[in-house]
């Protein structure tokens, strides 16, 4: 990779790093925080499966992101990703809930605004639907999965030691699935804006051909893995120890519900199957794993007697949902202007 290209991709790689640092905790946070799975084990599984998910199934959500605004210059893509990364950073600094999915959409809309191009309202509504639907779906799924797990456990009266054994293995398996889904769904945030301008030729590796986009996704996946290894342990411990105390079975259910939602919003084959059977398919859109987790926890809270749902958290999600893309779009517009007029970089094709 030439240094110039690396410089342009750096904003996406930074976004990937922060994604790995923050969102791996949604998958392995409870397991590592409660010492059910060691961090080294979690980091290895998460990294491998994030990269696999990104390379194998990353195209679906990325494609929809491309429809929002096909950024066709490297400086433009750089600025859109940088705007997303900066808004994530700014909002995190202020302790506001933030999603890289929403940030990157704001960054792209900013590019559209700067170019004077209209943003397709049909595509925007797909994103809006997905963002509202994903925490709700995660909530419904976690409630149903939990009721099912409870009914089974009460019926079979499995020994507590064995139950914990199964739960630990389940956390590792579901964690791997969750990491795969995170890579498949969220790689679009990290590398999606660069797909149109990807300079890589197709790469033949034995029987496998890595397309230009897949090579970008591989690099992005590695950036996520670096984020997981360098920074996610602290976040995992915070998620597992400080925020919610879940029983091991509930922790497993939360991760599974979240992973299923991310998977549903990333699976091209499932969407194709639904369409082929004349069923409404979910849009293939990057959604926020953090918001899916919060949705899943609220779902459990609603079916647990005596458990108080923290509606202030729900309100924060809604605020983040409106604020993040707005802030990212503003930074993107201003950034594009600066790149073009101060640094004389070709933001426009």
């Amino acid at each position: 990779m030439s240094p110039g290209l690396f410089a342009y991709l750096s904003s996406g790689l930074f976004l990937g790093w922060s994604l790995g640092a923050n969102d791996a905790a949604n998958i392995f946070g409870t397991a590592v925080g409660t010492r059910m799975v060691r961090f080294a084990t979690a980091a290895l599984i998460a990294s491998v499966f994030v990269i696999l998910g990104a390379v194998i199934s990353g195209a679906g959500a990325s494609h929809t992101l491309g429809k929002l605004g096909a950024i066709n210059t490297l400086p433009g893509a750089f600025m859109a990703a940088l705007a997303a990364a900066l808004s994530v950073y700014l909002m995190t600094q202020r302790g506001l809930p933030v999603s890289t999915s929403q940030a990157i959409v704001g960054g792209i809309i900013g590019w559209n605004l700067f170019m004077g191009r209209p943003t397709d309202p049909a595509v925007v509504s797909k994103f809006a639907f997905a963002w509202v639907a994903s925490p709700i779906m995660a909530g419904i799924m976690s409630a149903l999965l939990f009721l099912f797990a409870r009914a089974v456990l009460r019926r079979v009266k499995i020994h507590l030691l064995r139950q914990d054994h199964y739960t630990r293995m389940g956390l590792i398996l579901v964690g791997a699935f969750g990491a795969y889904s995170l890579g498949a769904n969220n790689i679009a945030n990290v590398m999606g804006v660069f797909v149109e301008v990807s300079p890589f030729p197709d790469l033949q590796l034995g029987p496998v051909v890595l397309s230009s986009a897949q090579q970008l996704f591989l690099i992005g996946g590695i950036a996520i893995a670096v984020g997981i290894y360098t920074y996610s342990e602290r976040v995992m411990l915070t998620v597992g120890q400080d925020i919610v105390r879940l029983t091991p079975v509930a922790a497993l259910v939360v991760v599974l519900a979240q992973s299923l939602v991310l998977f549903l919003f990333a699976s091209q084959s499932l969407a194709a199957w639904l369409v082929a059977h004349h069923l409404p398919a979910l849009p293939l859109v990057p959604v926020s794993s953090s918001q899916a987790v919060v949705g899943a926890v609220i779902g459990l809270g609603l079916i647990t007697p005596g458990e108080r749902v923290r509606w202030d958290v729900v309100r924060n999600i809604a605020v983040g949902w409106l604020l993040t893309p707005t802030v990212a779009a503003l930074i993107s517009v201003v950034g594009m202007f600066v790149l073009q007029n101060v640094f004389n970089l070709p933001v426009r094709p």
Partner: protein, 217 residues
């Protein structure tokens, strides 16, 4: 990377925990029989034999407890459960220690129990053994059927309060009697010693309630 071993270790540990509770129950039964014999005949050959037996069972339970503790610390169990189980077993161990200490103190000090109080002492011994017996059933349920723990803990609380009532009632009667102060003190110290078995069982019952709420799915 260390992945959990498949069920072999867990099954062995489950069996050992079951065996451990068997020993605690056995200690209770031997204790109950020893108390009956003492109250009937004082220190007799049969009683001495049962005192030896309580010691043996207590030692067997101790060996099992140590083995369980070693296995649990090396075993890949979820740490929170491991800590809970270890502290539970440590606390249950106090009950067998109390059984042993109680029969030994009868063996060594040979308190003279007036005929008027014998039935009460026998009833108290039965009640404390019943409390501990229900505690063991509750502890077994904690591992196999969480929803049943509450019922057994309720019984633990009932028997413990019955034991308290007997201790108070008989204690008052003893102090109202014409016995000399030394003997009054001597007899009530035995009431307290027996009652402490039920108290310990009740503490374990309370702990089990909390552990169950934590684990309830």
């Amino acid at each position: 990377m260390k992945l959990p071993s498949l069920f072999g270790g867990t099954r062995g540990l489950e069996a050992q925990i079951d065996l451990y509770f068997d020993k605690v129950q056995e200690a209770g039964l031997v204790f109950g029989r020893a108390m009956e014999l003492y109250l009937e005949r004082g220190v007799s050959e049969g009683f001495e034999e049962l005192v030896r037996r309580v010691t043996e069972v207590e030692e067997e339970a101790d060996d099992l407890r140590r083995e369980i503790e070693t296995q649990m610390t090396t075993h890949t169990l979820i740490p929170e459960l491991r800590e809970d189980v270890l502290s539970l077993i440590e606390q249950v161990d106090e009950v067998t220690n109390h059984y042993e200490a109680a029969v030994y103190s009868f063996y060594i000090q040979q308190p003279v129990i007036d005929a008027a109080y014998r039935a009460d002492f026998a009833e108290l011994a039965r009640m404390v053994q019943q409390t501990a017996e229900e505690m063991v059933t509750a502890a077994r349920a904690f591992f196999r059927d969480l929803s049943a723990v509450r019922d057994h803990v309720k019984k633990v609380q009932f028997y413990e309060s019955e034991a308290d009532k007997i201790t108070t009632r008989v204690g008052r009667q003893i102090f109202e009697s014409d016995l000399d102060l030394a003997q009054k003190m001597h007899l009530t110290s035995f009431l307290d010693r027996l009652d402490s078995i039920a108290d310990t069982a009740e503490d374990i019952g309370d702990k089990l309630s909390i552990l169950t709420i934590k684990r309830m799915v």
